[in-house]
């Protein structure tokens, strides 16, 4: 499976080492349906490929991706400028269950870069689609400078209930300080009707799930996005195996009810 060639239309540096790019196919007709929670394999010339989630849904054949420098490939991708090209395979995987949102009390819980695959959800809600009964966004980051989509989060907070926390703050930070589990634990949750979309570092998701279960949220109402090493994205290379699951094709978004036994096993 060879990548299609895409060009960078726009590039925004979110904070040092992390950028968001919008990319379009070099030749027309390449547009493929994608949904929030899915991912693409992005290829930087000669450096390699990495899985990067959808950070926005354009509906016009272009993709939006947020890339943080983690290794050689992400460094090469981050170095690209507007007008540069990259290879794209995808979209792959199962996304967030948007068909379950209508009428529910939706809790979107993001930690750090975990905001990236959840951004299209919030954007869709802002645009009036999916019709949940209510929406709360909990977004934790390490420090104020490392909040993704800062201007947008500000906009969202006027329309939705948004709680932001940072681990370390400077003066002038208006939000809370500490981990996201604290405001999540304090939130009023209609346990019969709640639906949770969760993405962040595994340890953060672990603690959030503990809080949610303690509040009485049902395991089938919690969805989370998992990260594992992905090379092929189509269930052939074996790298992303996690118990019986291939994270690339069975996930990356899983219903907690289905993966609960595996989630609790370390070094799986």
């Amino acid at each position: 499976m060879t990548p299609a060639i895409y060009r960078i239309d726009s590039r925004v540096e979110e904070f040092p080492g992390t950028c968001t790019v919008r990319i379009s196919p070099e030749s027309a007709g390449g547009a493929r349906r994608c949904s929030a929670g899915q991912f693409n394999m992005l290829y930087a010339f000669g450096a390699g490929e990495v899985p990067i989630s959808m950070s926005g849904l354009q509906g016009d054949g272009s993709y939006v991706h947020t890339i943080r420098i983690q290794g050689l490939v992400t460094r090469a991708l981050h170095r690209l400028n507007e007008g540069d090209s990259l290879g794209v395979r995808g979209p792959f995987g199962c996304g967030w269950p948007m068909d379950k949102v209508a009428g529910r009390q939706l809790l979107v819980v993001a930690g750090g870069l975990g905001m990236a695959p959840l951004r299209p959800i919030v954007q869709a809600l802002m645009a009036g689609s999916a019709r949940p009964a209510s929406v709360q966004l909990f977004y934790g980051a390490r420090r104020p400078q490392e909040m993704l989509y800062a201007a947008e989060v500000e906009q969202w907070s006027r329309a939705l209930k948004v709680v932001t926390t940072v681990d370390h703050a400077d003066t002038g930070w208006p939000g809370q300080i500490g981990v996201i589990t604290k405001p999540l634990g304090a939130a009023s949750v209609d346990i019969e009707n709640a639906l949770v979309f969760l993405c962040g570092p595994e340890v953060m998701m672990r603690f959030c799930i503990q809080v949610l279960l303690a509040k009485g949220v049902a395991t089938e109402a919690i969805y989370l996005s998992m990260e594992r090493n992905m090379k092929c994205a189509i269930g052939h290379c074996g790298h992303c195996q996690w118990g019986p699951n291939f994270v690339c094709k069975d996930g990356p978004v899983f219903c907690y009810r289905d993966i609960r036994p595996w989630f609790d096993i370390r070094a799986l």
């Binding site: 060879t2 990548p3 060639i5 060009r7 070099e26 290829y43 010339f45 000669g46 450096a47 390699g48 490929e49 983690q70 290794g71 007008g83 540069d84 090209s85 290879g87 570092p201 990260e227 594992r228 090493n229 090379k231 092929c232 189509i234 269930g235 052939h236 290379c237 074996g238 790298h239 195996q241 118990g243 019986p244 291939f246 094709k249 036994p261 096993i265 070094a267 799986l268």
Partner: protein, 373 residues
Amino acid sequence: MQDFVLLAANLDRLIQALRAAGYQVMGPTLRDGAIVYDEIHAVGDLPQGWGDDQEKGRYRLKRRQDGAYFGYAAGPHSWKKFLQLPRRPVWQAQKTGHSMQITAAVETVPAMAFLGVRSCELHAIAAQDRVFVTDQYRNDSYSQRRAKLFTVAVNCTSAAATCFCTSMQTGPGVTLPCDLEMTEVIDGAEHFFLLRGGSADGEEILRQLPLSPATERHHRLAQDAVRRTAEQMAQGPRHFDSADLQALLYRNYDSPSWDQVADRCLSCANCTMACPTCFCSTVEDTTDLSGDHAERWERWDSCFTGDFSYISGGAVRADTRSRYRQWMTHKLATWYDQFGSSGCVGCGRCIAWCPVGIDITEEVQRIREAESG
């Protein structure tokens, strides 16, 4: 279905008929002190009169007195090296200014005939088919090779001490479709193959051979040879009941036996290379010195390597305990969830080729004993 007798003296006619039909014939041959799979041009390439002696961490060739052509058990190679290539180009990329072109590697796919496929190996190929051909996505390289494949299966009449196909219900008699099925029979001075066509292509090859109809006696001799092999394994130390393996392993992710095996395991990946079903691969991306030409190659990979499970923040399976647990649990348990069958066919390669003699059947037993206290 009509069975035929091909005298061993005429075995070369089969090889030449396959070659004349356009097949590249792959089969067993003697090399580097082992029976390996490679291209076969004539009957003289086959390891006639050779067998093997196998145990934990041990493989030695052994002379046979009966002149058998297929008197050996599974060796270090498996057929997967011809279907899922150990290393292959995937694509080439060329940089031009701000843009690039990516071109898929074009493979010349030969029509191959595998000569001497054991039943456990047919099951292994079927297991890889479920990964690369009939799963959600198709692997073109594998699928094209597989589609052109002709299989000459051999009912197994030579089990090694490391074999446990009877425990995994994959042998020793052939239980999956093939193009030709044969049984090698040596009875006193008599040496022949009982042959049966399994497909139209197989029947076509049969028509070109000097055959005689099989009699009741031929059938009985062939059945006896396979039955003796099954009995040998059933009485051996590696015979066990595999019916509850999946549940057993799912209950025992925290078994102390994982620590014990991790103390011995070198994480060397030999078992995964020798295994006929292990399918993991990785890719390597490189550029030439100009920096304008890049290539992607795929090669076999192993869940025993340190960077196999690497994600931002480090390897998920950082220690040998978790890697051995992943490998064995995948083979014997999670494979059922993923592909509806066991990932182990009982060929015993991982036992013989483990440099420290770790035996997957012993490890199953150890987990069982640890659980029952």
